[in-house]
Symmetry: C2
Subunit: 214 residues, 2 copies
Amino acid sequence: MKLYTYFRSSAAYRVRIALNLKGLSYEAVPVHLLKDGGQQRQDDYRQINPSALVPTLQDDRITLTQSMAIIEYLDERYPAVPLLPQDPPGRARVRELAQIIACDIHPLNNLRVLRHLVHELKLSEEQKNAWIRHWIGEGLASLEAHLARDPAAGPFCHGSSPTIADCFLVPQVFNAQRFEIDMAAYPNISRIHALCVDMPAFAGAHPSQQPDAE
Amino acid sequence: MKLYTYFRSSAAYRVRIALNLKGLSYEAVPVHLLKDGGQQRQDDYRQINPSALVPTLQDDRITLTQSMAIIEYLDERYPAVPLLPQDPPGRARVRELAQIIACDIHPLNNLRVLRHLVHELKLSEEQKNAWIRHWIGEGLASLEAHLARDPAAGPFCHGSSPTIADCFLVPQVFNAQRFEIDMAAYPNISRIHALCVDMPAFAGAHPSQQPDAE
């Protein structure tokens, strides 16, 4: 199994956590998002992923993009360490939490969008950072409210073992910390993050631990 | 079953299509995103959905947000008309296509983001429209490339019956048409859209057919 990855990509970080939680070994193929005008935009990579984004997973059956689709695929194909609960409402809730991050927070702050804000809309560094903090702040407040009201939230996002939601939460908190967002307003998120981040599966997926880390 | 919806919300439109494809009846509860400073931001709605977005689905077991999580829940709870294929690679592919729309296109063009561009960043109407067209154009080009290269693409996004991917494609094309994007560059997307849009399940979910349509 090959994972096209970039150490700091939070979408790739999610998949690395899922692979580690499941104990699956893989070959990491680094795609440098900043070098050579963005290696993800070069023709050879576009042949693999026409969206010109990371991550991409390749195995004997499929070349697959989109972190959520990849993790659900891994969960179906390698069910031994499940990352979704068994009951439909529980599964729905885990997907909902992951998608608050995947759809409402991350897409507004990824590299191609920040680049567009600076190069096309001529935003200053200060305006760009305000944009990032605004959307991460809004999104984490939503996620916190969802976690706070739900009796199914346990030590992890859902119950007593890691799920897909935790695979998404940890990289999003890493991003928030990079942009110096005060996490004190998000006690449930902070608590879950603190529990996960030292577990070997999460720690080994951290950007600083990747072969392409700088 | 209750669906909190807004006629023009493309995330709500996706769920309406899925409900119709499955032949499930529901009570539509309109949430007007523009009236009263946005009904979705009022306290009574935030009690239901802390993210202050539509749609929200309520049944006897769960109050659920995020269109993808809602549709997967419906598919697990009411499996009679499946919206995902049976094989893991096929399921992965359908999710991937839906998520190209849900993660890479739609989040950049929804109401709260466009509002922020105009009110906070002081973009002109023209700059706002250029932003919309840029991201929809990039995203549809990716989706088109994924569809064009994949032998599993049939009359629908995946094979010969509608899946979750089609539930996402049709509302995204509706949005593209609203912003007068030339669809000629996307022949596979256009072909699939043309097939779906006249089917009763899709036609009945169209914004113009909703009780709150203007």
